[in-house]
C-alpha cells in the first residue's frame, strides 16, 4: 500500500490536508485528480505552493485510472485528492477502488446543498453519487481531521 489517503475535499491541497493529515501520514506525493486542473498550469502553481517538499501530480480521471495500481504498489506515499464526489466516483467505476477507504473532508455550503456535518454539505445528486460510490465497494466515511470523530456513510445518508 502506499496510497495513504483518498480524500474528497473541494479545497484540495490546503491546511487541513497538508498539516492536519500530512503530519500524521507523511505523504511524499499529492495526486490531484481533476480534468480541469490537469490543463491549467497557473492553478497548478497555486496548489503547489501549499505542498511543501512533497511532489504534486495533476492528472485527468482517465490517466489516474490507468495509474492507480502503480501508485498503490510504489513505495512513495501518496494522498489522492478530488474536489468532488463525482470525480472520486469516476475514478472508482468498475471496482478500481473496491475495498479502499475514501475520506470525505470538505464540501461546504452552496445553493442546492444541505448540511450533513459542519464541513460536509450534500446536494441530492451528490447523495446519489455517494450511494454509487458505496455500490462500487468503497468504504466511505467523513472526517475532516485525523483526530476528529469518524462518521460512517450510513449516518451521512440516513
Amino acid at each position: 500500500m502506499t496510497v495513504v489517503l483518498y480524500r474528497v475535499d473541494e479545497r484540495l491541497i490546503h491546511g487541513q490536508v497538508v498539516i492536519g493529515w500530512g503530519y500524521q501520514l507523511r505523504p511524499e506525493r499529492y495526486v490531484v485528480v481533476d480534468d480541469v486542473l490537469a490543463r491549467s498550469d497557473w492553478e497548478q502553481d497555486l496548489y503547489r505552493l501549499g505542498a511543501g517538499d512533497a511532489d504534486v501530480v495533476f492528472t485527468t480521471v482517465e490517466d489516474a485510472r490507468g495509474s492507480i495500481a502503480r501508485w498503490r504498489d510504489e513505495s512513495e506515499r501518496s494522498i489522492v485528492l478530488t474536489r468532488d464526489i463525482g470525480t472520486m466516483l469516476a475514478l472508482a467505476r468498475g471496482g478500481t477502488l473496491s475495498g479502499e477507504n475514501v475520506n470525505l473532508g470538505g464540501l461546504h455550503h452552496e445553493p442546492g446543498r444541505t448540511e450533513v456535518l459542519t464541513y460536509l454539505h450534500l446536494s441530492p445528486d451528490e447523495r446519489g453519487e455517494l450511494e454509487a460510490l458505496v455500490g462500487e465497494g468503497v468504504n466511505v466515511y467523513a472526517r475532516d481531521l485525523p483526530d476528529a470523530h469518524k462518521v460512517p456513510v450510513e449516518t451521512l445518508l440516513s
Binding site: G15, E43, L49, G50
Partner: protein, 129 residues
C-alpha cells in the same frame, strides 16, 4: 486608492482574522477601520472568493493571509492575478497590521516592502534560554 488609503483585508483560518483586527483596534483605536476580517470558516472556494470580492470592491488593497497556501492563500493569489492594485502578503502578524494601519496612505510599491520588513523584523528570539 481611497482618501484614507489602501484597504487591508485579513483573510485567515477560523477566528484568526477577527481576533487580529480586534487586537489592532484595542491598540490603535479607529485606525483599525482600514482593516476588514474574513474567515474561511465553512466556506467553499467559490464562497471564499465571493467574501473577498465583496469586501474589496474595486479598492486598492493588501490582502493579508496566514499561510502562503491553502484556501486563504490560494483565493487571495488567484484574486490578485493581473490586478495591479491588489497585493497579497502572507505570514501576517500583529506588528505588520499595526504598521499598515498607520501607513496605508503610502503607495503600494512603497508600502509592501515596508510591511515585509516589519513582519520579518518583529520575529525575534527575545529570551533564548
Amino acid at each position: 486608492m481611497s482618501e484614507q488609503g489602501v484597504l487591508g483585508v485579513v483573510l485567515a483560518h477560523g477566528a484568526m482574522a477577527a481576533g487580529m483586527v480586534d487586537a489592532v483596534r484595542r491598540i490603535a483605536g479607529d485606525a483599525a477601520d482600514g482593516l476588514v476580517a474574513i474567515s474561511n470558516d465553512g466556506a467553499s472556494p467559490s464562497e471564499l472568493k465571493r467574501r473577498l470580492e465583496s469586501a474589496v470592491g474595486g479598492q486598492t488593497c493588501v490582502v493579508f493571509v496566514d499561510l502562503p497556501s491553502g484556501s486563504c492563500g490560494a483565493t487571495a493569489l488567484a484574486s490578485a492575478m493581473d490586478v495591479p492594485e491588489r497585493c497579497v502578503l502572507c505570514g501576517v502578524n500583529l506588528p505588520v497590521l499595526l504598521d499598515f494601519v498607520f501607513n496605508r496612505g503610502l503607495p503600494l510599491q512603497e508600502l509592501l516592502p515596508r510591511l515585509v520588513e516589519k513582519g520579518r523584523g518583529s520575529i525575534q528570539a527575545m529570551a533564548s534560554g
